[in-house]
């Protein structure tokens, strides 16, 4: 079986099983390296397709070698030091120690099983393949997608994904609603000219709303992530920093918004799907209980509804007392 792999941002291969084993032993192919072979639906980190207990190609690290928890490469055990219970090679040691002094925790070191989604590797996979694989995995297999999603590494990649695709979905939704509104206006003479707005002003507003579809979604996702992260903290489920919440929501919203490309039905399906993807995304990225994630998403509406019932109960009680 032939394999393809990513190296320095380029696609390499095909290589045979034994050649892949050599590349792994040399440290060229790491557990985090994206690989692909026939039968795989998308580019996948090596660690996902070759587990330690059942290596596909028969690869086992040389006796006496230890894997660095920071870079993933194998070294002689004597060349690896223990820092806070993690194996760190001599090359990574200065950066790890510096990070610790600056407040980074060792739990944030790269997790070989968290290397997705494909959008994080679009330089290698190409824009369309990375987009297709990301959207497909988040919509069809959200549990797997968010279990393998990176929880660190910055916010620029999820930001651009969210800006492009959630913005695109919003624009399509806005255009469909505008067309619907225009057709209703043309059918109903009473509505024609009801706004009394000059054509120039209406045009400026239209352009503003198109631009705001992109800018607003980018700003909105940051704010929504902040609110949900605080809710998750209140529910005791925020086990990772704000970045993880933002990543889950940005990739989730960007993927689900593309459902708006299917007029009417897609937009209707996007509402429940968005909730499902958000709840699963939060629980998998924070590695917390699903019920905590669901509670965090619905905390604000739940508090409002409970308080509303109390207020209405009091108002009803006061009104009944007044009648007596």
């Amino acid at each position: 079986m032939n394999w393809f792999y990513e190296y320095n941002g380029e696609q390499k291969g095909p290589v045979t099983e034994s050649e892949l084993d050599s590349l792994i032993a040399q440290g060229v192919v790491l557990p985090t390296t994206l690989v692909w072979r026939d039968g795989l639906t998308s580019w996948t980190p090596l660690a996902r397709v070759r587990t330690a207990s059942a290596p596909v190609g028969g690869f086992t690290p040389a006796a006496g070698s230890t894997q660095c928890d920071s870079c993933g490469r194998f070294f002689d055990t004597g060349d690896v030091v223990q820092i806070a219970g993690r194996n760190i090679c001599a090359g990574c040691k200065p950066a790890v120690l510096q990070g610790l002094q600056q407040g980074t925790t060792l739990t944030s070191l790269s997790d070989p099983t968290r290397n997705g989604p494909a959008w994080e590797h679009r330089e290698t996979l190409g824009f369309w393949v990375a987009t297709r694989d990301t959207v497909k995995s988040i919509l069809m297999e959200p549990s797997h997608a968010f279990s393998t999603m990176r929880v660190d590494g910055g916010i620029s990649k999820p930001f651009w994904f969210n800006l492009i695709f959630a913005g695109l979905g919003n624009v399509v939704l806005f255009l469909v609603l505008s067309l619907f509104q225009a057709s209703m206006t043309s059918l109903s003479p009473e509505l024609r000219g009801a706004s009394g707005m000059p054509a120039g002003v209406a045009g400026v507003m239209f352009v503003f709303q198109l631009v705001w579809s992109f800018v607003g979604v980018a700003i909105g996702t940051f704010i929504q992530s902040g609110i949900i992260h605080v809710s998750l903290m209140i529910c005791g489920g925020a086990r990772r920093p704000y970045e993880a919440t933002y990543r889950a929501l940005a990739y989730g919203a960007g993927s689900v918004a593309l459902l708006n490309l299917i007029p009417v039905l897609g937009s209707i399906a996007a509402v429940p799907w968005s909730l499902v993807v958000t709840c699963i995304g939060l629980s998998r990225t924070h590695e917390t209980d699903l019920w905590r994630a669901v509670l965090a998403v619905f905390l604000l509406p739940i508090v409002c509804c409970v308080l509303a019932l109390i207020v209405m109960g009091i108002a009803f009680g006061v009104a009944s007392t007044g009648h007596h």
């Binding site: 950066a95 510096q98 990070g99 600056q102 407040g103 980074t104 944030s108 660190d152 590494g153 910055g154 916010i155 002003v201 400026v204 507003m205 503003f208 709303q209 705001w212 800018v215 607003g216 700003i219 940051f222 704010i223 209140i234 920093p241 704000y242 970045e243 508090v303 409002c304 308080l307 509303a308 207020v311 209405m312 108002a315």
Partner: protein, 141 residues
């Protein structure tokens, strides 16, 4: 033992710079909303108010913000006290964020929150929302 410990430190490599991020997000949101208001775009009506006839905890926010923008602090408080106080806190935080970014100062971070502190924060937040809603209902009905 204090409820929460604050520390001053510089962001670690790869860590989100919250001061830069939220200053950019807040600034863009204020600019966008100001432009929308200038173009005559209005926020959608409150669905909760439409459905129940009672104002929601956020009702009066737009009017409070407009009053605050004109410097009418007491009028803003009357429309929605919690949103007004939150907006003033956000403004103060924005000034702090701008200062640490310009002067390249270490950032303030919460390093530890005790269990009692966390419980107190949760209850305090809930009490603030309830009290604010009580006020909004009393002044709108």
């Amino acid at each position: 033992m204090s409820a929460a410990l604050l520390e001053r430190r510089r962001p670690a490599a790869g860590e989100i710079d919250h001061e830069r991020l939220w200053l950019a997000v807040g600034g863009s949101a204020v600019l966008g909303l100001a432009l929308a208001a200038r173009l005559g775009l209005r926020p959608p009506p409150c669905l909760f108010h439409l459905a129940t006839g009672y104002p929601c905890p956020g009702c009066g926010s737009t009017r409070a913000m407009l009053q605050l923008a004109h410097g009418n602090f007491s009028a803003a408080l009357a429309f929605n006290p919690l949103i007004t106080v939150a907006a003033l806190c956000a403004l103060a935080w924005g000034l702090y964020a701008a200062a640490v970014l310009v002067l390249r100062l270490p950032r303030l971070r919460v390093s530890e929150v005790s269990r009692r502190g966390a419980l107190g924060l949760r209850l305090g937040l809930l009490a603030a929302v309830v009290a604010n809603w009580w006020w909004v209902i009393a002044h709108h009905l």
